[in-house]
């Protein structure tokens, strides 16, 4: 069995950034396993621009953002295998993968970095009633067909869900000649970023209907129409508001789910709120030496922060690999009032760390407050806080004690 200091599962933005940082920190014996033919992950199909504003100070397309990392991976000679799907990660960090060229691979790693990204929620998970015709696609699948495979999925389009990919696809489809009739969102507020509503929908005259959902899918062979209805505050369709919208394509942009099947195999415990791992401030999961960052940990809005988080992970993973251990993290970080989730869920109290969180609902003129045993350690005022926008807070160890849990609230 081969041995490696670090095995990185997934050569997307998180995996690439982590690999490069590990290298900088003196961890040289790294292996990236990527199931696609090319490195870059989902960025390869995100051909719109807007990536890298934070990291590079310029607006890049997804492939360009990825290529900046790939070029360095290649220049540094970081070892990677593409078209190689990891089948299993054992709790003692043996990674099993299948590859056409290398056969069945088994690698024992000192540290395993989980950077597998996320997948899309499907119609099945929504349990949308109706038939099962052709013409129903998740936004990411449609994006792959259109941007990578040169395949057009339809002509008259309805989009369910105002996730960023859905709105981006509304614009892409419009530019490529399809007619996008509307975007329907079940919540009373959009789930994607405001700028995407502006530049992907408003610019092209595509209406966004909040508190609306698709209640029926029609058509035996190809989609012929969807029935949409207004919803009450508990997301239940209001009888009498149904309206049939003829279309041949329905695009679903109804949420992303961290892809943690391998994490579970490794014995990693998941947080039901993020559906990613419970991690400490080192991005270490409950299994020592197994780390997670990026969309596999919690779904991000911006790739720049995925890179950032993965680099923080790599700092800790390098310390773990080179020194054999990391400071204990006995303090819990608890999501309090109006906080949807926090990352990390545990911290040491002895080191600075970045706290990521999302609010549960849109709020105006609020403060995000971190307290330890009732004592305020950090307060950030915000004019508006949206669930669509992840909030980052720099928590300073100097403000913390080592004897009480942290609670994060929005007030």
């Amino acid at each position: 069995m081969t041995e490696k200091q670090a095995v990185i599962i997934g050569g997307g933005p998180a995996g690439l950034a982590a690999a490069l940082r590990l290298r900088e920190k003196g961890v040289k014996d790294i292996l990236i396993l990527e199931r696609e033919k090319y490195l870059g992950g989902i960025l390869r199909q995100c051909i719109h621009d807007g990536f890298g504003l934070t990291r590079f100070g310029e607006s890049l397309s997804g492939p360009e953002y990825a290529q900046r990392f790939i070029d360095r991976i290649q220049a540094e000679g970081v070892e990677y295998i593409t078209e190689c799907t990891v089948l299993d990660v054992s709790p003692d960090k043996v990674v099993t993968a299948a590859s056409k060229t290398r056969g069945l691979l088994q690698v024992r790693a000192q540290a395993v970095l989980l950077t597998m990204g996320c997948r899309e929620r499907t119609r099945g998970a929504l349990a949308t009633p109706g038939t099962r015709p052709a013409g129903v696609y998740t936004a990411g699948v449609a994006q792959s067909y259109i941007n990578l495979q040169n395949i057009m999925v339809g002509k008259e389009v309805v989009i369910l869900g105002s996730g960023d990919i859905g709105m981006i696809m509304a614009r892409r489809l419009t530019l490529e000649g399809a007619h996008v009739q509307a975007v329907y969102e079940v919540q009373p507020y959009p789930s994607g970023l405001p700028r995407n509503i502006e530049q992907c929908l408003n610019d092209y005259g595509i209406p966004l209907y909040l508190s609306h959902t698709v209640v029926e899918i029609k058509g035996r062979e190809r989609l012929t129409s969807v029935v949409v209805a207004q919803c009450d505050e508990r997301f239940r369709p209001i009888p009498g508001t149904e309206q049939e919208v003829p279309c041949d394509t329905l695009i679903l942009s109804v949420g992303l789910i961290p892809e943690n099947e391998l994490s579970l195999a490794a014995g990693v415990e998941l947080d039901p709120r993020t559906r990613g791992a419970y991690v400490d401030e080192h991005c270490q999961t409950g299994v020592p030496g197994v780390f997670a960052a990026g969309n596999v940990l919690h779904v991000h809005d911006l790739v720049d922060f995925v890179s950032l988080e993965a680099e923080a992970l790599a700092d800790s993973a390098a310390e773990y690999i080179l020194s054999g251990s990391l400071p204990a993290c006995p303090l819990e970080v608890v999501a309090g009032q109006d906080v949807g989730h926090v990352i990390p869920q545990r911290c040491s109290g002895t080191r600075d760390f970045t706290l990521y969180l999302r609010v549960r609902r849109p709020l105006n003129q609020v403060s995000v407050v971190v307290r330890q045993a009732g004592r305020e350690v950090l307060r950030k005022k915000m004019r508006k806080a949206l669930p669509a926008e992840m909030i980052l807070l720099a928590v300073k160890a100097a403000k913390l004690t080592q004897d009480a849990n942290l609670e994060v609230t929005v007030e």
Binding site: I47, H48, P63, R195, I197, D301
Partner: protein, 121 residues
């Protein structure tokens, strides 16, 4: 006149309340940085956008090469530019930054390739 703008310059997506007369911006509130004011001014005078699309690739490992504009163009010219992009074909290999159309329709913006595509072996 008063209007609310959603700034698209960066992911902050500031909601900007602007007071204006014709093309003259009198006051802006809600923007986190000066770019917000510039954006509002531009929106009033001549709204500009960038777009991304793809161009067909011959003899490449992939059938399409993604492209984007190097600078924003007037919003009402988007579909004119799309027509130009749709006319193009590239020969593999392609490299990031390859100019696909120089100064498209004289709008001062180039269409550039944004993907590395190797030639099929």
């Amino acid at each position: 006149m008063k209007r609310t703008f959603t700034c698209i310059v960066c992911p902050n997506g500031c909601e900007i309340e602007a007071e204006y007369e014709g093309e003259n911006v009198l006051s802006v509130t809600g923007n986190l940085c000066p770019k917000g004011r510039t954006y509002v001014t531009q929106e009033l005078v001549d709204p500009q956008r960038t777009i991304a699309s793809s161009v067909r690739v011959l003899n490449g490992e992939l059938p399409l090469c993604s492209v984007r504009l190097t600078r924003a163009i007037p919003k009402d010219r988007i579909f004119d530019v799309m027509r130009e992009i749709n006319r193009q074909t590239l020969e593999a290999p392609t490299h990031i930054g390859d100019v696909v159309i120089q100064d498209v329709l004289g709008l001062g913006s180039d269409v550039i390739a944004t993907k590395e595509i190797a030639k099929v072996s």
